[in-house]
Amino acid sequence: MSAEEKYVAAAYLVVFAFVLVYFLIMALKLARLERQVGELTDLARKRADG
């Protein structure tokens, strides 16, 4: 691979990496939100049961 090709590949990989890391962070956040929904559902059920 020539130096030119390496720089072009690196530039596109930077963009790809940023987008992937962004999605990873959002996926972790979604997992946390799902966990919170589960906890709140349990809390609501306990309230409903008395």
Partner: protein, 228 residues
């Protein structure tokens, strides 16, 4: 706006981004010709659209800030925050891809003597500091108002940064568009337009995605307080 309509918008923008981004990459490597600058010119097709998308993010964030101050619309502060957050991400990508291009073309990662580079960096740092302001104030109307005003101040830097590329005396940073139109072949211009549409679609999809997450977070917090 109803949740189902928002979900439809998210699905639509994500589909658009999923179609346009691979199409753009395919056009860059299989359709756009390699000109006299060489293969490294291919970086231009993503670097410039990402920079323009960053400007669009900051502009949209400033617009939502204005909507918050002017109409007091609920949720405008959150929309402004998300847009500026994405603008900082796109800005970082602009600086990195530009540095890679500059290193190959001119042997320098960065040139402090280049006004247009420094002005974009100033714009990026200005909006990065937005988060320092936001998280130094307790959540509430005061924080929303301060952030909205700050986002509006920053929007002044956008045209200055954009025009600096044209007004600079030294043309280290290439000028692909001037008053005579695009300085490139038709196929290159078409590829550039598709790449720009792809980046804007990506911004729209990420914006909707992050906004949905933040709204869900806020609703869950409210629910927790009600159930506590």
């Amino acid at each position: 706006m109803s949740t189902s309509l928002r979900n439809n918008q998210l699905a639509l923008s994500a589909t658009l981004a999923a179609v346009l981004v691979p199409t753009a990459i395919a056009l860059v490597f299989f359709y756009a010709p390699v000109d006299e600058d060489g293969l490294n010119q291919k970086i231009f097709y993503f670097h410039v659209p990402i920079a323009l998308a960053a400007y669009a993010c900051f502009g949209w964030g400033a617009w939502k800030g204005l909507v918050h101050l002017w109409k007091g619309k609920p949720g405008a502060d959150l929309e402004s925050y998300v847009a500026i957050h994405l603008g900082v991400i796109f800005g970082a990508m602009t600086l990195l891809t530009g540095s890679l291009w500059a290193k190959f073309r001119w042997g320098h990662w960065w040139l402090w003597s280049e006004r247009q580079l420094v002005l974009f960096l100033v714009l990026f740092l200005f909006y990065s500091a937005y988060f320092m302001l936001r998280y130094s104030v307790e959540p509430g109307p005061q924080r929303a108002n301060l952030c909205a005003v700050y986002s509006l101040f920053g929007v002044v830097l956008i045209p200055i940064s954009f025009l600096a590329i044209r007004l600079a005396n030294q043309y280290i940073h290439p000028v692909a568009f001037n008053r005579h139109g695009p300085q490139m072949a038709g196929s290159q211009f078409f590829t550039f337009c598709v790449c720009l549409a792809a980046m804007l679609a990506l911004f729209a999809a990420l914006y909707q995605f992050e906004l949905a997450g933040k709204r869900l977070d806020a609703r869950l917090k409210e629910l927790r307080e009600l159930l506590a």
